[in-house]
Symmetry: C2
Subunit: 138 residues, 2 copies
DNA sequence: CTACGTGCAAAAGCTTTGCATGCGT
DNA sequence: ACGCATGCAAAGCTTTTGCACGTAG
């Protein structure tokens, strides 16, 4: 797990308090929209601006420190990559998000490679559906 | 494959030229954003309004006549359901979209059901990645 | 010191909503 | 004739952009 400071420096990016706060927010929040990240960092530094959040999330993702997925039909959510690489299950009814180890998708991913000449990005994958709890409540 | 007229009528929706045109546009275009649908229908009926397109797509999806998927980080795209049910592979570099029969994902989907108590909606699934053509151009 | 990063404000999408008119039933 | 559907216009959100200042290196 590479140190975020070195990663930024190596690519010629500067170390700023905003970048540290935003990366910290993403790690703390788990899965957060830009908006939620903004709200979180503003608790500590109220003058931080939305545009800084968007710009910083973009940089951090480019550097591979965070990733985003689409857990709703609307905003993207960002999450840390320091944890295991994972993909997501999202229940449409209760909105619950489950993180699943990429290992559980390996067979499927490999079949896409061999039969469709496609190299899938499993870390970005989101599967929508219904969790059994909700299913039973029908 | 149910007739769209009957489907609308059975649920108490009215048959309008706009609805017919919009459904037709989705079927012709394959995978289209609301914007593309609008442009297409306006070729025939220039007064059709964006809000009608949004409202109609929502109705048609609710009735199961069309579905949407997220083929880019931005706009949703709608497609007909009269074809085979399918999911999508999207190449991030060349933006190519491949439709894949759901059968190819069955094993994976079943494993999610059994090991994660989750009932996946395979028709909404989109897998991002890189196609081999682009991969080789590196 | 240099120029990258930030804050601010305005603009740019995209989508939704309220309302009066029109049209399908 | 009744009331849903549409067109229009305006508002709402989220995200992007231009610019001048501040600050990391």
């Amino acid at each position: 797990m590479p140190d975020w400071r070195s990663v930024l420096r190596e690519k010629g990016y500067r170390l700023t308090p905003q970048r540290e706060l935003i990366l910290g927010a993403v790690e703390e929040l788990g899965h957060a929209t830009p908006d939620e990240v903004l709200a979180h960092v503003q608790e500590r530094a109220s003058t931080i601006n939305p545009s800084t959040v968007y710009r910083t999330l973009e940089v951090l993702e480019e550097l591979g420190l965070i990733r985003h997925a689409h857990l709703s039909d609307r905003a993207p959510t960002y999450h840390s990559v320091t944890d295991h690489e994972h993909f997501h299950l999202v229940c449409r009814r209760c909105r619950k998000v489950t993180s699943v180890d990429v290992e559980d998708a390996r067979g499927f991913m490999e079949s896409l490679t061999t039969t469709h000449a496609f190299n899938p990005d499993v870390g970005h994958l989101t599967v929508f559906g219904t969790c059994m709890e909700c299913e039973e409540k029908t």
